[in-house]
């Protein structure tokens, strides 16, 4: 796995401003940014690991611990907020037993808040494992999450 990460990072050598795409590629491959990957970035791209960490922690996209198997994102953009997005977040937090930004103890679900998916006309919106669902209400949102939970249990 480590050699794979190294190969991935090497493909960004000699590219200007490559640190962000390199971090994105690392996260794509292993799900998060690990301390080892920053050491490799320092070795290969010559960017100090501290600077690289500084860049990674600036952007919301990057995670620093292994994410859950499933990812649930609740949009809290303006339109979604005005149409009751906060209540949906509350319900799902309660349902999964984890606060936004965290992962359930069994490692199955990560819950995130997103600023805006751009699907404001069908607000409120949630995303479950890259599937976007619009026109949500606390009840229907909970249903979709529960479905994913039970799918996981039976798998």
């Amino acid at each position: 796995m480590v050699t794979d990460i190294r190969k991935i990072i090497e493909s960004f050598k000699d590219r200007k401003g490559a640190i962000i795409p390199a971090l994105q590629a690392v996260q794509e491959a292993q799900g998060y940014i690990s301390p080892e990957s920053l050491v490799t970035i320092e070795d290969v791209l010559g960017i100090s690991r501290n600077e690289a960490y500084g860049v990674a922690t600036f952007y919301s996209q990057f995670r620093f611990s292994k994410p859950g198997e499933h990812e649930v994102k609740v949009c809290l953009g303006t339109a979604c907020h005005v149409k009751g997005g906060a209540a949906i977040m509350d319900i799902i937090e309660d349902d999964l037993g984890v606060k936004a930004g965290g992962t359930t103890p069994d490692g199955k679900f990560t819950l995130e808040r997103v600023a805006c998916m751009g699907c404001c006309a069908v607000a409120p919106v949630i995303v479950v494992d890259d599937e976007i669902h619009g026109k949500m209400a606390p009840g229907t949102a909970k249903e979709i999450v529960d479905r994913t939970v039970s799918k996981g249990v039976s798998e």
């Binding site: 301390p35 690991r49 501290n50 500084g54 922690t57 600036f58």
Partner: protein
Amino acid sequence: MTARIDGKDYDIIEGETILDIARRNDIYIPTLCNHPDLSAFGGCRLCLVKVEGFRAFVPACATPVQDDMVIETTEEDLDDLRRRILQLILSEHPSACIICADREECLDLHPDPTKAGRVTGCRFCPNRNECDLFDVVKALGVDDIWVETEYKDVPLYRRDPFIHRDYNLCILCGRCVRVCAEIRGVSAIAFTERSHDATIGTAFQGPLVDSSCVFCGACEDVCPTGSISSKMTRWVSIPEVTGKSTCVMCPAGCAMDVGFKWGRMTITEPSEEGENVAQACLKGRYCTVPLTNSKDRLEYPRVTTDGVLRPVKWETALETAVEGLKGFAPEEIGMIVSPSLTVEEAFLAQRIMRGLGSDNIAIASNMAGPMQKAWGGAMDRVAGIGTMTDIRDCDAVLIVGTDLSLTAAVTQVHVHAAWKDGASVFNVKIDPRKGYRHADVIEPDAYGPFMDILLEEVKAPGQQPHTPDRDAAGRIASALKDADKTAILVGPGAFRDAAEGTQVAKLALELFEAVNGTVLLPLWDGGNVQGVLEAGASRCLTPGQCIEQDSGKYSSGRNPLGEGIKALYLTHPVPEIPEGVEFVVYQGPFGSQVSERADVILPSSMFSETEGTVISLDGRVGSITSDARLPNMAKPDWKVFIDMGRALGLDGFDFEAVADITEAVGLPLEPGTHLPPGEPLPEGDRAVRVDDAVNPVGPWPCSATRYRGREIAEDVEDFLEVAASWGWDE
């Protein structure tokens, strides 16, 4: 071109910002994130000024001045805004003392900070006497905070070696990040996180030893608050006496400000002025004081009686030494000269030996002998060419035999300046330590053969079959040839073996000439090797590096640790006393495994306690001053040598003050000036002017982690942690 500021016209220098022109003309504009040596950040928003034609206020530090610009640095709205911004900053900093009306009186009554686990006000802050934040508060007349205050309550970083970080005091000016990246080329700390959680830190908030920090303390110097302080000096009081001196922990010869209280050295910091551009390294900054104040200093003269070293009076010790030495023929006496002695001290040392009729003198340095052999025959003097500052203008830099982490560490600052301007930097080294991050690192199997290949590739490129070493050499060769100006630095790692060292030194000079180089510098393994050479304290050399080969008087010297030597005068510890040596005089500040075997011990000084002159690796003359009292009965080396000289009945020891000795040395030793560079001789005049007997007596143990033979880690605990993490375990 002119600009109008507050109603007056001023001339503009091209490329200036509003802040530059204001500073030049003594117009005050408050700043916190700005620092004259660093790039403009434009973050603190205190330097806002009003410029005609701009809708909003602009930051003076980042706005270029234009012809006919009309600027107001003060105005009701603007001043009010500045105060409010400052109050926002203060609202998240423990500010109770900063805005207290009694602050001045309080600090007068309590000049030294009160020790506390956590800084909750100036009373407890190590920065209280030099706080940039307070200076701005005072200048803007802020005496209240109009928003809710909040103590950040973030963890303290107390467990790193040397450096203490308290980000509850941090105002996020970013100076530390910038100095580490722009001046030192390290980037051990960076801005992390975002928004209100933004803070300065390392990757994953790991320890500084893992972040490539070199513990140079540059961050501490530029920090406007007490956020970064050194563990050693946090509670140290304001010095009684301050002075300017030179550091001798390595041959870079950094100009230092030194502080003393009650006769003890309390602090060493880089001076504002000096070729070390206000930078130092962890040895000079953090290790000098603990070493000087070590509990293990030699304090009394001792003489061995009945197998035990007993404390005696100075007269007794000197008498015993004289009697012992006089019992041997001159050719049976040898001296080891410490490269940490001053020029004056080394001069006296060689005068003693030559007075006795012996030329069996060697410097405790792996580099001195091979360099004398290689350069002594090809140049008029064993001396470098060019200065450390000249490195900054070079387009290609080649470093051989070291990684600059603990050897002349400040040189990296100049190398980094060159790199930022587009220079290629190559580091040929065999040790596994990481060193300068931006260098192209080449790890050959051996130095000598590699330098051979490199010279071949410069003179006749691409003729030989490919090997990894040859390809690397080819890369270096083309960069060196393409460059307008080249710097070649040679360090101790290539001199572990004498013969190889001589070869490397010879090839380095030839390479320098082949590429029309600008800088050629030896990164000596000793703080004053250059000075000791100039003082002539080595076989075949006399003061001024003269070699009197023909007379035979000074070329008859032999290896002081070799055959036929029966008496040794040590001013530096040796790994072991050779068999056959019957009498040992040991002079120095610290004991060692061999001092136990000495017949006479003469306790002497560290560089931080003596007076005199030292010469850096690029020929710069530095002066040493001190207000420290030596421990108990120890004396400065120069006084010991005078006493010895007189006791031995030799001529030429009628000195009362160091200045008299300096005069007697007869060299142009004006502090701040440079000695002439080494001058390569024409091809036809080159010869081996020094025979093999000059070859070194080593190998001496690694000098990067030692001072005058003493392991620095024995007196500075943190040093061991740092050195070990860097792989310095020799």
